[in-house]
């Protein structure tokens, strides 16, 4: 499956009948291959982004971050973007939930286009993306986009102007009788972000 471009974004189907092993056996087996293949980062990304693995009891940030630390962060990101489309915020969110340390790097990678991303400039880019998705009414993507960026150094928690702006946008559309479920979820999450101390 590695031949295509962004394969994890394009093919989401899975074999629903295969039998699974308990996660803690799998990680032990998995960790054995760590030094044996150059593709290990790739396999690791595919493995943890699998839904069944992601939601299993023992797949947590502690284990994922431990393995993540063994890679060079840039190589890891390189592999990651070759597997996942840059606007696939659904998977981006899953990745940063498992490896919070990768969040800043991921955002930089997605939005910097090579140049260094400074604070104010970054915020403008992120707001642009928000507006873009918002205008195109891609609400599901919007939801995961917002979840992906918050908590990073570019988009801190707390009572910020940007968050208030996001909230206003959504409230406007809400009043204009758009009833997409993602909007009300977003509204809820933004309210939580405001309450979290920066």
């Amino acid at each position: 499956i590695f031949m295509e471009k962004s394969p994890l974004t394009n093919s989401r189907q899975n074999d629903t009948l295969c039998k699974l092993s308990p996660f803690d056996t799998m990680i032990n087996a998995f960790a054995c291959y760590q030094d044996q293949t150059e593709q290990f980062a790739k396999y690791f990304i595919c493995f943890i982004l699998d839904r069944k693995v992601y939601e299993s009891m023992f797949c947590d940030t502690i284990w994922c971050s431990k393995i993540y630390k063994t890679f060079s962060a840039d190589d890891f990101m390189q592999q990651y973007v070759s597997l996942v489309h840059s606007q696939d915020y659904f998977l981006h969110y899953r990745l940063i939930k498992l490896i919070p340390a990768a969040q800043d790097l991921l955002i930089r990678r997605l939005f910097s286009e090579g140049e260094f991303l400074a604070g104010e400039q970054a915020r403008i880019k992120l707001v642009q993306e928000f507006n873009d998705l918002f205008d195109k009414r891609r609400f599901q993507q919007l939801l995961y986009f917002v979840l992906t960026i918050y908590g990073s150094k570019y988009m801190p928690f707390g009572d910020t102007d940007v968050t208030l702006y996001f909230k206003d946008c959504i409230a406007d559309l809400f009043n204009a009788s758009a009833s997409d479920v993602e909007l009300s979820l977003l509204n809820g999450f933004l309210s939580i972000f405001i309450k979290i101390p920066p």
């Binding site: 092993s21 308990p22 939601e55 299993s56 009891m57 979820l185 999450f189 309450k195 979290i196």
Partner: protein, 552 residues
């Protein structure tokens, strides 16, 4: 001083009405407590978990949930989708994170507990972590102080295969006194005052305070940890095994705190024993060991293992903790296959963990004294455990008990049990060969764990004289199991000495060569006799196993 004033009282300054681990909270924290509580009130568990998840990414800065919210999280852990799928879907229909509420709750709890364990090791000064610890301890104290509620679990005079009777009716609450949960020490309205259940499951503290319910939960977990029935195993794997492990970890943390800060007030040994007998961990173990001899502890801890009790007709009656957890919801398709090896590994490490806490408690008892409850001394405990282990029929279970689990200093009791079990095996074996009545074989292997030369010398003597070499006659399969078990005890001891000293150090000892020759000779003797008298046996020779163990 009223809580709410931003001031961190250091440990030890203890007013009479103040709990020893009490930490004052600041107004900001109190605000967080209230916000989290209101989310619980609204049954908005996705938001509750989301808020905590956002703030539990690193250990430097994290949100501290109050005890009532932690209790909600613990209860939420029991609301697994394997039997509560519809109600979970109803509560969180969109499921933004694609995670299950019960698992998310558990992951957060484990994050906190791991942080507390690390903090205890490093011994820093962090008011925020101490406040978190305080919240957990409020729960643990409330659970353990109610041990008096735990009646001796029901035993029935009925013969069953492994001493367990399953009863699938959940016991109805018999007491009206269930309202008293944990007194809220903070000036806000706790959600517990109005909420008694989470998505249909009674709050864990209320549940476990029902008479006999706590012990039933422990036994239900232990028994199902080797369960062949898939549904019951899923229930165990999803809910109870992780949760019980977490609770045991918390009791250990509480105990460490107790030893460090509360036991200091003991004026003499007698007073110390009294304090220890009332400690949270002692209460917890007393719950499992309701008999005064340690025998019922063994029966509980080895529940559902394949061996013969002395009292064959007594069975323990079990029932599910929550209604319906033994049936799958219609939309749940079990896909994970759990191998027997996997089940054994997890089950035995849980059992070892609980035994470890018992040993931990007993090592604090001053010499020459005995706890008021639980009563057995460390020696009696070890003796009872190894007596049961020596009777194990299933070699895989036996092996899993001795050769899995982490070899930290905390498992110092395993070599003791291995040695004592070996003694039992010796006398049984000798009896069956020579019809001699040998009461007890004295071994000094554990004494010599720090002296490799002496250790190897003693082992060499065994093997020279014939270490479990069967007699020249028809060999029963049970005898083969005994031989195998003895080998495993030997391996367990070597595993531990290797942990202490390192494999290379053992191999370079001057006595090692003689030892290897003796073991090889013993293997050859066994092989000769077995090939004549039990040609189908597949008893592995000990030497390769030993070398493999010392190598890795």
């Amino acid at each position: 001083m009223a809580p709410g004033i931003a001031n961190h009282t250091s440990i030890g300054e203890n007013d009479d009405e103040r709990l020893p681990y009490y930490v004052d909270v600041s107004d900001d924290t109190l605000f967080t407590f209230e916000v989290l509580n209101s989310m619980c009130m609204l049954d908005n568990y996705d938001h509750l978990l989301f808020t905590l998840e956002c703030q539990s990414v690193d250990e430097e800065k994290f949100a501290i949930p109050p005890f009532d919210v932690l209790l909600v999280l613990m209860t939420l852990t029991t609301v697994s989708d394997h039997y509560k799928e519809p109600i979970l879907r109803q509560n969180d229909p969109y499921n933004t994170s694609r995670g299950k509420l019960s698992r998310r709750a558990f992951k957060i709890l484990r994050f906190y507990v791991k942080m507390l364990q690390k903090y205890d090791l490093n011994g820093g000064q962090r008011p925020d972590i101490e406040l978190l610890r305080c919240q957990f301890f409020l729960i643990i104290d409330s659970l353990s102080s109610n041990a008096r509620w735990a009646r001796p679990h029901r035993r029935k005079r009925r013969k069953t295969e492994n001493g367990v009777i399953y009863n699938f009716d959940v016991a109805e609450a018999e007491d009206s006194e269930l309202g008293n949960i944990i007194a809220n020490p903070y000036p806000y309205v706790s959600c517990l005052e109005q909420k008694k259940s989470i998505l249909g499951n009674d709050l864990l503290s209320i549940k476990l305070k029902q008479p006999g319910s706590f012990i039933n939960m422990i036994l239900w977990t232990l028994s199902n940890s080797l369960q062949e029935d898939n549904v019951l195993y899923i229930d165990n794997h999803e809910v109870w095994m992780p949760l019980l492990e977490l609770i045991v970890d918390l009791f250990v943390l509480r105990h460490d705190f107790f030893i460090k800060h509360e036991l200091k007030s003991a004026i003499d040994d007698y007073h110390m024993v009294q304090l220890l007998s009332e400690s949270p961990l002692a209460n917890f173990l007393h719950l499992i060991d309701s008999s005064q001899s340690g025998i019922s502890f063994c029966q509980c801890i080895f529940l559902s293992c394949d061996y013969k009790f002395d009292d064959l007709d007594v069975s323990i009656e079990l029932h599910p903790v929550y209604y319906g957890e033994n049936t799958l919801s219609k939309t749940y398709i079990p896909r994970t296959s759990f191998s027997k090896v996997y089940k054994l590994k997890r089950s035995m490490s849980l059992r070892r963990k609980i035994i470890g806490t018992y040993c931990k408690l007993l090592t604090e008892v001053p010499t020459g004294h005995q706890l008021i409850k639980p009563k057995p001394s460390a020696d009696e405990l070890i003796k009872n455990l190894s007596y049961s282990l020596a009777k194990f029929n299933d070699i895989d279970e036996f092996e899993a008990f001795f050769l899995t689990g982490d070899l930290t200093v905390a498992s110092y009791f395993v070599p003791l049990i291995a040695e004592d079990t070996l003694c039992h095996l010796f006398s049984n074996f000798k009896k069956s060969i020579e019809r001699l009545d040998i009461k007890h074989v004295a071994l000094t292997l554990v004494e010599n764990l720090d002296n490799i030369g002496a250790f190897l010398y003693e082992c060499t003597c065994f093997f020279d004289k014939g270490f479990f070499v069967p007699p020249e006659r028809q060999i029963k399969s049970i005898e083969l199991v005994e031989i195998n078990k003895a080998d495993i005890c030997m391996l367990a001891l070597f595993q531990y000495i290797k942990f202490l000293e390192g494999g290379e150090v053992i191999k370079s000892n001057s006595k090692f060569h003689d030892f290897i020759n003796a073991v090889n000779g013993n293997d050859r003797r066994r092989k000769r006799i077995l090939s004549r008298n039990a040609p189908d046996s597949n008893l592995p020779p000990l030497m390769p196993l030993l070398l493999k163990l010392l190598k890795s």
